[in-house]
Point group: C2
Chain length 388, copies 2
Amino acid sequence: MAPLLPATGAWMPGDPSGSRRFFRFPADRPFALDHGVTLHEVTIAYETWGQLAPGADNAILLCHAWTGDSHATGRAEDGHPTPGWWEGMIGPGLAIDTNSFFVVCANVLGGCQGSTGPASPHPDDGRPYGSRFPVVTVRDMVRSQARLADHLGVERWHSVIGGSMGGMQVLEWAITFPHRVGSIVPIATCLQATAQQIAWGAIGRRAVRLDPQWQGGDYYESAAGGGPWEGLSVARMVAQVTFRSDNAFTDRFGREVADHSPEGEGVGLWQRFEVERYLDYHGDKLGRRFDANSYLVIGKAMDLHDVARGRASIERATARIAAPTLVVGIASDILYPVYQQHQIRRSIQAAGTRAEFVEIDSPHGHDGFLINLDQMGSSVRHFLASLG
Amino acid sequence: MAPLLPATGAWMPGDPSGSRRFFRFPADRPFALDHGVTLHEVTIAYETWGQLAPGADNAILLCHAWTGDSHATGRAEDGHPTPGWWEGMIGPGLAIDTNSFFVVCANVLGGCQGSTGPASPHPDDGRPYGSRFPVVTVRDMVRSQARLADHLGVERWHSVIGGSMGGMQVLEWAITFPHRVGSIVPIATCLQATAQQIAWGAIGRRAVRLDPQWQGGDYYESAAGGGPWEGLSVARMVAQVTFRSDNAFTDRFGREVADHSPEGEGVGLWQRFEVERYLDYHGDKLGRRFDANSYLVIGKAMDLHDVARGRASIERATARIAAPTLVVGIASDILYPVYQQHQIRRSIQAAGTRAEFVEIDSPHGHDGFLINLDQMGSSVRHFLASLG
């Protein structure tokens, strides 16, 4: 069992803000979501690095993945439970060079690290949304980021870059706002979630729902102080296996045993192999820094991701893309296999727009874009340099 | 939520026996398990087809997979909640021809369709074992089948055939009892469970444990009559995705929606895509015919599968195999990828024993051995014919 924790790992008002800043939508500009609900109070938490040039032509938007947040680079410190998710990619002289670029990363709508999400207070009663939080889409995330761009004075991004769900946002940026995007780098992502991807997401949601502590989504004010940690942990384990690869697991864990039997005793049902201890560790760790309802809402947004929705077809959608594109895939990715990135490249090229494909040679699977930073960095650096 | 069901889908004494017969180990021959526990009452439920020849040289043993049972072929009927798992492979004139062969299939030790398992009465008090049931191994399963073979008068199997966990039993038969096995057909299986395979199994176990109805494994006498159906269902969903393939899911389900929104309303968090309905269906279906504790115990046996355990190395283990071997793999199998079957073939050949490899060209993934019966059938038929 996980140790007793508060009911959510979400950043809550009153917590140290760390490096984040907050953009609150003006009260006279409510935000209508794709699926019909209107949010009357929206806050987007974001971080920036580097300086915006006088012409505002050097801004790069980074889009984070499922359990990421605005903290793309920087230490773990008060207000930031983890170091930056792309530490080593962003900074002075690095691939995304903050001597040249003004870099922005925002926590997605529906997230739990400062942007409006299920743990945020509902304007009606000040209590957490919980089960009242609506379904959001990747397009909703992107449209909320467009308002942030307005606020920052960025009419057009020099580049929009992101992996996994971040890559979904990248594609939606280029399709929804073709004139606001100078170039894009969608990484380890897809044009539409496949049935298998939906299946993995759905299983995670079912695991959270199974946890009695989830309480239908209204667990924040639980008298016992517990949260759906076990369910979130199981959901995370499913994801964690799909984020890596068979070979990487074999190399790292093999059949090593974590919980050894007392001398002369046999194996028990719950004695763990090393790989199980690793999954427990990652599952428990997520609980300390995330919110179970955000996990559900963001997962659903990924399942609903489909650039063709309301746009007749994939071809009609991607024909809107005007931005030179670097598509990145990871050879060992079992969750977003490289055939999906080839589809992205082909469909953008089909409309006459420049699109290159680079394959990261990594044994680490989907997470390779967070791990193999030498290859990621040199690909992104060269692409940005090629834009002139 | 699943409809209210009895706490287990296990076959229980008093239920119709259907086609099964029961072999009870003699009271003076307790059964010592690999991990130290001794079972004093063991029953193995089995079915047979065809006639044992006077020389007892025409017997074929079929070994079932995780949620299989002795009902390898035959209708769903009283006592058999599902049709035979290899319907179409076994019968007069079929690939495993019951005009020539005496075919046996036994429910594994730890199972829930008539053989001793967690739902069986504990000899001490007549109440279900539940959490008291010990860890069993694939070798335990095989040694219990060897006692059944003695009982049936089969000194040596003409062939031992099985897929997935059935294939693990096949390999253990040939290694543990090389003189009792005339040939083997291990299908879509491996020499040792990998870290990724263990990970998938462990996640399923965690999902069952998360279900409050599991009650630490002692749910059989639950006053409310409930069982850990939801947890078992989530566990099954994990397995079901690994049993199939990305392409098969895309072809069959794509992004079709199962639960449509009322006119004018958006999508809800729990509205399902078709693939989710499919997973729900398979998860719920397993609950009606299986026992959650058997799912745990058998899953653990697979994780513990390692032909090298106690035998110094894989090479030393497989060098014991004297039986001509047909190894079958499935091209699209993501759970037991074909490199594992190539390892089996190579390690058997390395010791000078005949071993062939056939790859089933199937889009269906691991379950291909239960689906692509034309290819499976012709491979097995040719192999059996080649033995002379």
